[in-house]
């Protein structure tokens, strides 16, 4: 069974600074996807960034980038130039590529507070 671990329950960063959120996972699968989802106070789940395990290049979406270390099973999220609107709960998630259902397995989340 796959597991996703986020060891930082809460993080704080000053506006315009950079912050890194950690995520590790455990799987015996070779083909899979990893995601970071953002959940603002409105509670909606919003996809931030996606990484395909067979791609060595780290994914980047504007101010958001990941550091994907497949051998170490590590998938951290870096937020550059943090903005007040980045304040949210961030969930790391895993999906088996070969699965018929594409279900997501989530970590416990990291609550990020961006301070003015």
């Amino acid at each position: 069974a796959q597991t996703v671990t986020q060891s930082q329950p809460e993080m704080s960063v000053q506006e315009a600074e950079t912050v890194t959120l950690s995520c590790t996972y455990d799987t015996s699968e070779n083909n899979y996807y990893l995601f970071w989802y953002k959940q603002p106070p409105s509670r909606q789940m919003i996809l931030v960034i996606r990484q395909e395990a067979y791609k060595q290049q780290n994914a980047t979406e504007n101010r958001f980038s990941v550091n994907f270390q497949k051998a170490a099973k590590s998938f951290s999220l870096k937020i550059s130039d943090s903005q007040l609107g980045d304040t949210a709960m961030y969930f790391c998630a895993f999906m088996k590529r070969s699965g018929a259902t594409n279900k997501l397995i989530f970590g416990t989340g990291t609550l990020l507070a961006v301070q003015p």
Binding site: S42, R43, Q44, T101, N102, I105, T108
Partner: protein, 114 residues
């Protein structure tokens, strides 16, 4: 931009009552999901649905739960006899095709069982 919509946004029900949570997935999507998030905890997979049948369900999804796509547009989650521990945020999600890697989530329904 197409989106997944869920109704109601908040449902309060008495313990033992039946409740139906409704979702309208994105129109050309083929895979549908329900997830649950107990307050302060992680998001957990409940069930996936494809081609008018359940394709996978978790241990949480016991006989008290059922899903249905009654009319080709709505996707519902029914809880037959609610318990206090069913209080949670319930998220519906949909994906366009089997190979799709992105699930689009609705805004959630907060269920409170009293």
């Amino acid at each position: 931009e197409p989106e997944v919509t869920q109704t109601p946004s908040h449902q309060v029900t008495q313990m033992g009552q039946e409740v139906i949570l409704r979702c309208v997935p994105i129109s050309n999507h083929l895979y549908f999901y329900w997830y649950r998030q107990i307050l302060g905890q992680k998001v957990e997979f409940l069930v996936s649905f494809y081609n008018n049948e359940i394709s996978e369900k978790s241990e949480i999804f016991d006989d008290q739960f059922s899903v249905e796509r009654p009319d080709g547009s709505n996707f519902t989650l029914k809880i037959r006899s609610t318990k206090l521990e069913d209080s949670a945020m319930y998220f519906c999600a949909s994906s366009p095709v089997e190979a799709s890697t992105e699930a689009f989530f609705g805004q959630g329904t907060r269920l409170t069982v009293v």
